[in-house]
């Protein structure tokens, strides 16, 4: 410290990155505006940006996101079922800009944790006091032959947008009497009830438009989220249409695909479905791995209280990419986590202690036009870790009335409208 002369001191104070690098947090606190850079403008990233600005409007917040629009994964299954237009799940970034957030449409290619600097494909670099990484998920190569071309033939539709539109187009084009294969991924993955809600939504479309057709779920698991309630929905609404085959029955679900031949194969059987929705195994979004934020399983370990990476200081990972268990990889959880991270970042960059967190998750699944089910949970911090609050939460009762199931659909729509407004509005 004593070796720093006046000139280098001014140089150091001039850029936050340099200040961080030489370990002068007190100078950073005394110097110019605090900077937060957010990598990814999905549910978690956009929520964090807005709530940091709400918490302290003097903080400069930059979101770096390659896409001009975000399509929510939540309710994208209704687009597949035909009950919803894809434009209704499309959101832009004008809302964030109104909150004073700088939104840059570019791709982050590197995060220099020591230098406190993020660089992009477009050749720009952004220094930060704290960085929030919210890259969502990327896919693993767990299914032979599932390359870029195969994704066009057998869409995953697990990142909403063009893939959702493509899968819907294929469903519309298929002839009555065809088979739709859905291949859900192994744990852990984004939106645990998603593949089964999807089966219901596609089942609803087939039942009403192509009643001789079938949905076969070739699972990588032997059990799944809300299983009792989904099994009830399959029986109640889609008897003879939806069939679920657990991993043990097929020796592990779909192993190979051949896009050219149009085949989807398990160890026991080659199938030639009219439409196949192949959802690969998942890991944290690519930049998390590039930045060295992932563990050997491909996900990002974080502390419970602030979701700061346990690998790199001053970087927080939030949303699907983070290991937040028992919080699930859901839209509500990402939104809830992001608010906790935003509150923590506001305090930390101002040199104060991070606040006590509180989280909620609610996941609705719409299994038929007037039949909604849900799972909910409230979480707190116990011994530095996220914990479920005993006695809270749980599932829609299996014997809940048709009136209540119809209400849950209306509450699911309310949730969608309110959470997207909370994120992008």
């Amino acid at each position: 410290m004593k070796n720093i002369n006046r000139r280098s001191f001014i140089k150091a104070a001039g850029t936050v990155a340099a200040v961080g690098a030489v370990g002068f947090p007190s100078i950073a606190a005394a110097g110019g505006k605090k900077k937060v850079v957010i990598v990814g403008g999905g549910t978690a990233g956009a929520t964090a940006a807005k709530y940091i600005r709400r918490g302290d409007a003097s903080i400069e917040v930059t979101v770096i996101e390659p896409n001009k629009h975000y399509y929510t994964c939540y309710l994208s299954n209704e687009v597949l079922g035909g009950g919803r237009n894809i434009d209704s799940i499309k959101f832009g970034y004008d809302g964030l800009r109104k909150h004073g957030v700088t939104v840059v449409h570019d791709m982050v290619t590197a995060i220099d944790a020591k230098g406190h600097k993020v660089t992009t494909k477009g050749g720009k670099s952004f220094s930060y006091d704290r960085c929030i990484v919210a890259p969502g998920i990327s896919f693993r190569d767990n299914i032979e032959g599932y390359d870029a071309a195969a994704m066009e033939r057998f869409p995953h539709a697990w990142k909403a947008g063009s893939q959702t539109a493509l899968l819907r187009k294929q469903l519309e084009a298929m002839k009555d009497g065809g088979t739709v294969v859905i291949a859900p991924p192994p744990n852990p993955f984004r939106c645990p009830p998603g593949p089964y809600e999807r089966a219901c939504q596609i089942g609803h479309y087939l039942k009403t438009h192509k009643p001789k057709s079938k949905v076969i779920i070739l699972d990588k698991k032997d059990k799944f989220s809300k299983q009792g309630l989904f099994t009830q929905a399959f029986e109640r609404h889609y008897k003879g249409i939806i069939e679920w085959r657990k991993a043990a029955d097929t020796n592990g679900g779909v192993m190979r695909v051949d896009a050219k031949a149009g085949t989807v194969s398990t160890d026991f059987e080659d199938m030639k479905p009219a439409v196949a929705n192949i959802i690969p195994a998942q890991k944290a979004g690519a930049i998390a791995e590039t930045a060295g934020l992932t563990n050997d399983k491909g996900w990002c370990p974080v502390t419970g209280q602030t979701f700061e990476s346990t690998i790199h200081k001053d970087i927080h990972v939030v949303g699907d990419a983070a290991i937040a268990s028992p919080l699930p990889k859901s839209g509500y959880a990402a939104n809830s986590e992001a608010k906790v991270v935003a509150a923590a970042v506001v305090e930390l960059v101002n040199g104060r202690a991070a606040p006590t967190p509180s989280w909620v998750n609610t996941c609705y699944s719409i299994v038929a036009p007037n039949d909604g089910i849900s799972v909910a949970m409230v979480y707190n911090l116990v011994d530095g870790k996220v914990a479920k609050i005993k006695g809270s939460g749980g599932l829609t009762p299996a014997d809940s009335s048709p009136e209540d199931r119809a209400r849950e659909v209306q509450y699911a729509y309310s949730w969608f409208n309110n959470i997207t407004n909370d994120i992008f509005g």
Partner: protein, 192 residues
Amino acid sequence: MPSRKTLTLLLASGLMLGATHVAAAPTGSMLADTCAGCHGTDGVSVGPASPSLAGLSETYFTDTMKAFKSGDRKSTIMQRIAKGYSDEEYALMAAVFAKLPAASTKQKTDPAKVAAGQALHDKNCAKCHDENGSLPDDDAGILASQWATYLKYSLMDVKSGARDTGKKMKKKVDALSEADIDALVHFYASQQ
């Protein structure tokens, strides 16, 4: 056995054998922010069914949460969520929502039904739901500008007995026809 003083000391410093460390209570805004996913940013719901919480009196908010927790008030999901919080936390959230300006929603309403609803309100409801159901201090919730779907569910639940709002209101609501309920819903939803 430790003396009361040592016990207090032990408890205070969290050194009790086997005790897990639960952090201090979250702030009101930390707690209230978790509601926004369904009830809207700053407690203003954009609908169509989740009610707005902004402007509710502290008494109404905490009583409602306690009724969800005990099961006295029917719900789809709120009973499950209310069980995640203590009375102290209800109070912290309540203080946040009570300070926020009540919502003003733009909903399509039928002028004839609004007029019929006004007459029904004046005759049956005005005594407890002051100023067309817009006054938080009556501790009877905020009906003005509340989402129509929610108002309808609430009245249906009072009528069916699923929601206990006391004998007086039950008697009044029992006397209402389906068309009356519809008119009242339109009236409250139309209030700005």
